[in-house]
Amino acid sequence: MQPLLGARLSRWTPQLVLVPTLAAAFVYVVVFSVWTLWISVSQSTLLPNMAYGGFGEYAALWQSKRWIVSYQNLFLFGALYVLGSLFVGTLLAILIDQRVRFESVWRTIFLYPLAISFIVTGTVWRWIFHPQTGVERALSDMGWLSANVDWITDRDMALYVVVFTGIWHASGFAMALILAGLRSVDGDLIKAAQIDGASMPRIYRCVVLPTIWPIFVAVTVVLLQFAIKTYDLVVALTQGGPGVATTVPAIVVYDLMFERGQIAQGAAAAVMILAALAIVLVPYVVWTSWRDRKQGAAHG
């Protein structure tokens, strides 16, 4: 009997091995999401109260000024952060692609911010941008007394400081992926363009960059995801201020859930973050699987 049972068990080993992970993933992805969704339509306030309460919290959320500002900030920040990182990343990748000396040194320098936490990044740049200790102080000490770099305390400029810091953190990532893409472009294509007399900038603009556009899409999707989840960077850099000038949705979620004791509305805000992510990711996943299938069909 024993060996038979053993043999039968061993036939199922692969699936059995997956069970703990599958159970954890099911709880984490499905149960937790449904749970938070339910809280968002429940009567919960400071403590969970699972009685159904309708969609009032969503309505209240979309009527609160703070939330609307945070969503607007997310759009502006997300757009500038992604475009800026792509631009700087592309520029750096092209520069490094010119067969420069010490390539790995340059790459290491441009990519190291990604290894550092948003908390550390935000803390350091806050000091640098702070009018009394940072750039403004240094400029006025050098003699430029009217230097005005108090952006971080300026309602209209603070969000751009967050954008700048975000780009500093993420452009190395864009560079690494784009550089890998540049290296994969067929050399004959470039030689042909060169023989045709095209200049270097033109070769990049019209031949090289257009052929690696899927990489730009991938980088954009990943960065948009970062942008939607942005929390730590803003906490460390501006704490959402001055006023609500740099408040982002994730900060509103934290405040509602853990500072103001409105967990139903906090959960509703969390669901809106999930919705934003879905708007970015679902089309991307559909598109990549469609492309893979098309390629698979072309090969087979």
């Binding site: 992970t21 240094a138 460390a236």
Partner: protein, 299 residues
């Protein structure tokens, strides 16, 4: 490889001599400018961790050190008062270490085995299983904060490092499974088939064939998980408090403690302690770090 295909193409070696020189100058000048911009925060923070407070207050952050001292590193590590206790950041550094190392090892171990099953022991609907696991990569933390707080409370792990290890392991398995599965897909199926015909079982094939092929992806997983968990802030801030918080929360508490004089030099040293381990990992494993990025993002 792609590298050799580009060998023949050197854009800076085209055109006349003076044009070449001009192009080269522009390239290096731009690279130098950006390198300075990228390195300046690191240099500024390092500099200020050596300078006396009076000098920082007098001259601001962006200024060379006149007098230097290692004292502030010692204070930041062991004796600075933070949140009622005077142990510096060493306590929070250990907290983060105690949280990061087990969570990294556990999530990597699970990920390797999961990736092996999902790529080499295909079964009905396995793509759904894989899809469910990888959804965990994209799920925003905000959706899981309340359930985690509730669950950790129920199983007696609230405000504990063990609780954070659990959270990061569960979340991390999504990443490591994704990495490993995509890596193992490239291992030829015939290799596995041959071994099975020879009578090798599930674990034997894993030990004899997959594990020896795994070091590159293992390193990617370890680097990715270690830096990610070390740098994480939100879970630590929500699920722990006081003496159990990780170092990222301690850094925020530092700047939040607005009472009295700001000890910028000690703070700078504390920030360096928070940044050093992932930076170190990045510098020794940079190549694998990039590989993790590309496989995580493009695939």
């Amino acid at each position: 490889m792609a590298e050799t295909a580009r060998q023949s193409f050197d854009p800076l070696a085209t055109g006349s001599r003076s044009r070449q020189l001009r192009a080269r100058t522009i390239v290096y000048a731009l690279l130098g400018f950006f390198a300075l911009l990228y390195l300046s925060p690191l240099l500024i923070i390092l500099m200020n961790s050596y300078r006396p407070l009076a000098e920082i207050v007098r001259e601001g952050f962006i200024s060379g050190p006149e007098t230097m001292s290692w004292r502030y590193w010692g204070e930041a590590w062991g004796s600075f008062c933070l949140g009622g206790s005077c142990e510096g950041v060493s306590r929070y550094f250990y907290n983060t270490l105690v949280m990061t190392v087990p969570a990294t090892i556990l999530s990597t171990a699970f990920g390797v085995v999961n990736g092996y099953v999902l790529s080499k022991w295909r079964f009905r609907h396995d793509t759904w299983v894989f899809g469910l696991i990888t959804l965990g990569v994209f799920l925003p933390a905000q959706m899981t904060l309340l359930p985690w707080a509730f669950v950790l409370g129920k199983i007696g792990l609230s405000n504990s490092l063990a609780g954070l290890v659990l959270v990061h392991t569960v979340q991390g398995i999504s990443f490591t499974t994704l990495f490993c599965r995509n890596y193992f897909v490239a291992v030829p199926d015939d290799l596995i088939k041959a071994a099975r015909i020879d009578g090798a079982g599930f674990w034997r094939i894993f030990r004899r064939i997959m594990l020896p092929l795994s070091p590159p992806i293992l390193i990617v997983c370890v680097i990715w998980q270690f830096t990610g968990i070390w740098n994480e802030f939100l879970y630590g801030a929500v699920l722990t408090s006081g003496a159990n918080q990780p170092i990222t929360s301690a850094i925020v508490a530092f700047s939040g403690s607005g009472t009295g004089e700001r000890h910028y030099n000690v703070e700078a040293a504390a920030v360096i302690f928070a940044a050093l381990p992932p930076l170190f990992i990045y510098l020794i494993g940079g190549k694998y770090f990039v590989r993790g990025l590309t496989s995580g993002a493009v695939k």
